[in-house]
């Protein structure tokens, strides 16, 4: 604990949510803890412009549902990722279009142009194209599951919490999704080897 902290203890997420019943502005602390992560996860899937809306919307939805939050879950992170993932579903076509563009052209439309990133993006590697193809072809629920793990950084248990499914379901979805990504990468590898 730093000497500067006025109060001895930091509230965990569940305590903050309970405190926000009576003192709603307390909820902003959850924003400070997780908004950056949620934004990055959303921007990686559908781009910055949609991510801006999704991050704002995620916290508004969470705020309105705060009384139904299961406060035995000390960390709200999976819950917030779950809400963001549901909001992302509205942009499914756009998300798939972006993967296909990368697959087809080798140029990833994401992240949006930032001068010094252009060169790297033009040089997108062939295995990125293969991965994009695989991602575009996954069932939406399998893709959500895989990307919560790979891009959201959630554990299997947290993904299960986020999507409100049993851990076993997460495992089988990941298994199915990775079979596709490996197949896609296998093809590329063969091509590279053959060059």
């Amino acid at each position: 604990m730093t000497a500067a902290r006025p109060v001895g203890k930091e509230f965990d997420d569940a305590e903050l949510i309970v405190a926000s019943y009576k003192d709603p502005e307390t909820f902003a602390t959850l924003f400070d803890r997780y908004a950056d992560d949620i934004h990055r996860y959303a921007a990686r899937r559908v781009g910055t412009a949609h991510a801006d809306d999704i991050v704002a919307e995620t916290f508004l939805v969470a705020f309105r549902r705060r009384t139904s939050y299961d406060t035995t879950r000390r960390m709200a992170r999976p819950w917030l990722y779950g809400i963001a993932t549901n909001l992302l579903a509205r942009h499914r076509r756009e998300e798939e279009r972006l993967y296909r563009a990368l697959q087809r052209t080798g140029v990833d439309p994401l992240p949006e142009p930032m001068a010094n990133a252009v060169v790297a993006r033009v040089a997108a590697q062939s295995h990125h194209r293969a991965l994009a193809a695989a991602l575009a072809g996954l069932k939406p629920r399998d893709r959500d599951t895989l990307l919560l793990l790979a891009w959201g950084g959630l554990t299997y248990e947290e993904v299960a919490e986020a999507l409100d499914v049993p851990v076993g379901t997460v495992r089988s979805r990941i298994h199915r999704a990775r079979k596709k990504t490996r197949e896609a990468l296998g093809t590329t590898t063969d091509l590279i080897d053959g060059d």
Partner: protein, 335 residues
């Protein structure tokens, strides 16, 4: 190469959220939170030594709390005539002799409540309540006096199953939220579950007024005010609530009291912390609930964690009128 590792590299150069985006999103959240705070019961913990009632007061949307009365002293400044209001239903006119005392008032109000027409709402219907109230003079001092010459009107809908509430903002945008756990509860399932026998009801209310800051009966009085202000109450429970009031220690009759809509009636009252008189105002003809007022009856200083609150005699710290109550099928509708 490991597919998950390759996947982790894909778009790993995604830029972070800009500070402007974060600022706007956070501001939207705070605006929603502030809106919720305006109408939540109760509001945040504040000063030590401030009563529970006071906490309630902050909360309620149009916000008022209980009322009070006093020793038969006519309340100053209540010279306006009773106006025809739209508070529902015909009620039972019990004309004639003036109210003798709190027991007499309770009997008349209970009888009127029992004979008033009432249809229980279906669980998916919504209870609409319109409130006219005097806003806080200083929003930064939620426990301070109201601006006694200003009024605002607020509307709220609470689903009859107690699960959701709805409000409209100044742009007439309807927002539906989960109904927050309130202390005390005032949702219809709870109110309709209360005992209809006054003695049993009194015991229940005393038991549920946990951790009162002041005397338990003052907390019970305050809670009855919350029910009347925010809830639709079945007639038999309403009658029992009126019968409970004279049983509370310290309850007095105020022969003339005016609500925030300018309607003059008769009130039950109780003194809080020796300086604040809470009035629960009823129509003096139909004995229907009109509203509430809390008035400082002597100069007082409350000491709290966040400083002292000075109250001057004559200040009104809460003033409201229930101008409409009814049942509708959808939030946003008015009866």
């Amino acid at each position: 190469m490991d597919d998950l590792k390759l996947l982790a590299e894909l778009r790993s150069d995604t830029p972070p959220m800009t500070t402007e985006t974060a600022r706007l999103a956070r501001a939207r959240l705070l605006a929603t939170a502030a809106e919720a705070e305006r109408r939540t019961v109760p509001a945040h913990a504040g000063r030590a030594g401030v009563t529970r009632r006071r906490l309630f007061r902050v909360a309620v949307a149009g916000g008022l709390v209980t009322a009070a009365a006093a020793t038969g002293i006519a309340v100053a400044g209540n010279t306006e005539k009773r106006t025809d209001h739209r508070n529902p239903g015909p009620g039972v006119p019990l004309r004639g002799t003036p109210v003798a005392n709190v027991v007499d008032l309770a009997d008349r109000a209970a009888q009127a409540a029992r004979t008033r027409p009432f249809t229980a709402p279906k669980p998916e219907q919504w209870i609409y309540i319109q409130t006219r109230s005097a806003p806080m003079a200083d929003p930064g001092e939620p426990n301070g006096p109201v601006a006694s010459r200003q009024r605002r009107t607020t509307a709220q809908w609470i689903r009859a199953d107690g699960k959701q509430e709805a409000t409209v903002d100044s742009n007439r945008k309807l927002t539906i939220d989960d109904l927050l756990p309130a202390e005390p509860r005032f949702d219809y399932p709870y109110l309709s579950s209360l005992p209809t026998d006054p003695d049993r009801l009194l015991a229940t209310l005393r038991a549920s007024a946990d951790e009162p800051v002041g005397p338990r009966d003052v907390a019970v009085f305050s809670n009855i005010g919350v029910f009347m202000r925010n809830g639709l109450i079945p007639p038999q429970v309403q009658a029992a609530l009126f019968q409970v009031l004279p049983r509370l220690k310290g309850v007095q009759l105020v022969r003339q009291a005016t609500d925030a809509a300018g309607r003059t009636g008769v009130a039950f009252a109780i003194i809080e912390e020796g300086y604040l008189r809470d009035e629960l105002i009823l129509d003096s003809r139909t004995y229907r609930y009109l509203g509430e007022r809390s008035i400082v009856i002597k100069n007082h200083v409350s000491h709290g964690d966040d400083g002292d609150l000075r109250s001057r005699k004559g200040e009104i710290v809460q003033w409201a009128a229930q101008t409409r109550i009814g049942v509708v099928d959808k939030p946003g509708q008015r009866p």
